[in-house]
Subunit: 359 residues, 4 copies
């Protein structure tokens, strides 16, 4: 049934298959009078996710140029739905002809087939990571809603077994390497490691960390639209994501109450301050005013050059080897996608929070 | 704003504070003609979560007796909303009088205060784990929807730093110890470990694992109502949960595509079979027909007997020591709560799946 | 499937059958810090709808005393769900024993039976007008959200073929007769007319008019959550309602563009003013700042003392005569119910409007 | 806030302004494996609504050619969102240059301005009836869901003060005149009447009647997603609609219970039958299995050639005369739009009904 919309007040709906004529997103609920220009406000974020920019991501070449079809008048949002369209230009359907009847392990081929009884087998169709371009476009609009005071940033903090050294974290490094890696030493190691993965036709998983700063206290609607539950949902909708955590996350399981709870003191500005941020900026499902910290795990790309055992739609055992253009580490491009989803969740809750303001 | 409902077709709404006269849940969308009797169909699950049953959980004594106020006629569901009410009997409001003006670290006191400008300070009010009794009641109804073919079970797999040995996993052990632990050796170790935690007035985190078996292929609605994103959301709404993962979860980040993707072969019954279940029973957001495997991390109980630094509503630095009756490891009682939430998610998606059946 | 909730940001969920132990409503999304006391803020509206107050309404005696079970602390709303419970005291199930297997014409007996395969036949069960007590309770909370500046009032403007004379409209007359009639002359005529209807065991339809004043411009969310579409939906959910119109309504079909469109002039206060209100205060689905005017038609009570042809659940032709206590004109008690629904729609849109306010 | 989606399981989202590059609709929740071809399955319905086909509708010339951008593979629906796009070709923005700063009486200009603080003044922007082309496209998809057994038809039954003679009702006449009029005599009268209206630059209102046949018993979800409340909502979202009624509608107010309730008898096929259909095929919010009958009133087109008093955005009194191309009776083209909305409501409830089927 219908499941292609996300959000409540700031709500987007995506559509499109990887090998159809276009993909797109309709953003509904964006407030009016925000400046929104495709070239300057949306395209830069698209470019960040765009494939083919380094040898560590798929070589599919898509300009990912966004067109605004509605909801903007003379450079400003009008409060009506914003329709964004991205044409598919590099479709190469022929690459996929040999997998039309086979279920690629780790992909959604089998489940789509079973659920719908039909499948657009060209490159994953709807389940392709290509759809995430729409999320990034929606996220760019969400950032306009958040304004300049709220900043959403993401980083890759682990590639395969290799984690960053957090003592070297430097946001400025993010743009200096093709991995969105905040640790320049790790970035160098990853480059070598991923070259090996790429050349062997293999793939590897990764962990992304997102941080939102400037988020005011009070966002989140307990008990079932909590800020953290909405963030967990958002991240888990991203292709290949298998785990999500907030603040200390799974590490909190090993801690005692003395170590985990964030103590408070009045700050020099006369406002309550937390002395630590183990909670990742969320208590009881509501933002505390601290940085919101989310991490999510991305599984290794399922398309690899080593033949794997599978079956076909006719019920025969067979092997498959995915020859298409793919990412050795799909987690890299998940960084801007995660950022976009976080921005959308925050924009939604920011509007929800406004609704409850006392006059 | 409104955030106290969960689900779409199978939908529940909870209400109530820990120290009000009662708590309750309205279950809407339950199909008609299911047998539903409070004593036999709901109460056993309530008893599993009920506090005061061992020295490892809070000593608050609540019979947690559920009354069915609507939606059932002559022992069968009628398709109309099922209202379930649980009276609060052991409220002891006086225990909380000294914390009325202080924000307990790790609790939602500060964020509720900031968000709503008012707070029912008696025992956490709405943010108390007491509300989870309503989830268990809803989950009991969800299990009737799932029927006997779909089974949802949970286990505690880690307490503090102590994990179970998976080679000893035995579901039959779950009921033989007060921890829902499937490993009898670990259970013995935990007993000793948690005695120490309890006596020192401390607390510790834990990890819960849920397994749903018998789930048919095809449940889940990509791309934003995926089965895994809904499960992640569900788990993250539970008090104190800080992380969720599906199948291999975060461990998938360290794997290669060769190791992580589940290969397939035709089974002896002529049906496609997966050779492994790294995916945790979900591909592309849709159930594969295998066991659904979810894990979530629970932070240590924030109420501890060691004084912690905090501030009060008047803006003064102060210390706080939470003397009330509390759980040394709130993760234990999170097991039946997690099961209930999983059952509700599955019931919802089972009904959604029915809607798309071809005639 | 689930269908017992109404509203988005201000959202209520009702439950309960006419002859169960109780009925109730959970109001979610009510802002915090509003004064709310059962006796003074809710009960007066309940009493207005309460049956048995004149010979023109059912003689069922229900005190309809509302209990607040959650969401209020020390007399103020806390922002958490407000659970309101009303016990059923005068159930007299025996009155309905002879209709258990027969479908009462005009009632929902047949459709509930077909839809759910089971039916609580005692007095209509869920489809009974008794449920509207919950709506009135929710409406009382909605009025607190609207505040004193927004006023929602209703009147009966037609009983059977007898309409009021609009030139005699006086809101002060509403409380001077048992019909909520603003025309004292019509009220006298209706009393005589309805006495005849009542004595003959018959029933008659009616038309209710609702007026909301003080509504600010800008409420309503085109194109599918328009203020008028939400109002139309709200009214049509009320038992026995068969038609809804806004402003000129069906009469607009007979007018020309010159006569129907409301012209504007700048007012003495320097604000734009409409010279007429044919639109009923809504243009393009958005409130204009004028009075919102809604009318709805209520069909005659289906329970009458004249035998009618029907069938039974065993598939036999039979006749039925409904002996229970019923309203000769159910439209009378629909006035406070319509008011409540209008208040809920406006409260929801008022909160929605706040969400889009520019900082 | 977000308000541009309609439906729950069968759900569509529209976007686009009358004078932007295109308009469109995303249909989510359409089951898979339905045949869907733009030219044969959608276009004929578009053509029915398309302007410029007679002198009684606007002379705007739009081919309204629909492109399917997603959700269909090899001529069949895939269960993924169906994106339909219609380019705006005849935009003539210059026609509207003189009304940029004036509020046209009866239009949504003033309310959009107040709500959003900005307005796409070219031809009504989002509030233009042009958007209804998207509804018709969605309705064409809905008809595929309904299948051939369920038929949705509409007719114009009143133009200004001139009603049809119901004894002459002949569905075959609908396509024989430019009014969708089932009474050939009335059609002739209307032609003459509307010629006068058109030549004088005036406009007039109308009433549309919709009939759905073949609808199974059991559709509709009491108490707040009733079939009739959803239909009322749907019709009231259509531009210029001011009233909706089901079955006898407002006429029911004048009837007695003896006359209004539909009696039953066992039919020759051994199934219960209703002897009349005063209820319009809905009892208690659930379909009875009879024809569903809905009527709605459309106000006269607000754009007329007679100058009307208004104000401008600068706060000055002014007059306005709308010179653009407009419909003398917008109610005519509301017929296929109403049909489409009814088809969408029924498709949604048909899917919802499937979800509750017992195995």
């Amino acid at each position: 049934m219908a499941g292609n919309s996300f959000g409540t007040l700031f709500r987007f709906t995506t559509w499109g298959e990887s090998h159809g004529p276009a993909i797109g997103v309709v953003v509904d609920g964006c407030p009016s009078l925000l400046d929104l220009v495709a070239e300057t406000d949306i395209q830069p974020w698209m470019d960040k996710r765009r494939p083919g920019q380094s040898r560590y991501t798929t070589q599919r070449q898509e300009p990912d140029q966004v067109r605004i079809l509605s909801g903007v008048f003379e450079g400003k949002t009008t409060g009506t739905p914003i329709s964004l369209l991205i044409e598919n230009t590099d479709q190469r359907s022929k690459d996929y002809s040999d997998i039309a009847g086979k279920f690629r392990p780790g992909h959604a081929d089998y489940t789509y087939w079973q659920k719908y009884g039909i499948r657009d087998y060209r490159g994953g169709g709807r389940s392709s990571a290509r759809e995430t371009a729409c999320r990034v476009a929606a996220g760019a609009v969400a950032r306009k809603v958040l304004g300049s005071a709220i900043q959403v940033r993401g980083a890759l903090v682990q590639v395969g077994p290799h984690k960053i050294d957090r003592s070297r974290w430097d946001w400025a490094e993010i743009d200096n390497n093709p991995f969105f890696c905040p640790d320049p030493v790790a970035a160098t190691q990853w480059a070598e490691y991923l070259d090996g993965i790429r050349k062997s036709g293999s793939s590897v998983g990764a962990v992304v960390e997102l941080v939102a700063s400037g988020v005011p206290v009070g966002l989140g609607d307990p008990l079932y639209d909590k800020l953290d539950s909405d963030l967990a949902c958002a991240m888990m909708t991203i292709n290949a994501v298998k785990g999500v955590e907030i603040g200390n996350g799974f590490a909190a399981a090993e801690l005692t109450g003395e170590d985990n709870a964030d103590q408070m003191r009045m700050g020099p500005d006369g406002q309550p301050q937390f002395l630590t941020n183990n909670a990742g900026g969320i208590l009881g499902g509501i933002s505390t005013g601290q940085d919101i910290v989310v991490r999510f795990a991305v599984k290794p790309t399922s398309s690899i050059l080593t033949p794997r055992q599978t079956v076909d739609t006719a019920g025969n055992d067979t092997d498959i080897l995915t020859k298409g253009r793919h990412d050795p580490c799909v987690g890299i491009r998940a960084v801007p996608v995660g950022e976009a989803m976080m921005a959308c969740v925050l924009a939604d809750h920011l509007l929800r929070r406004r609704a409850e303001r006392r006059e």
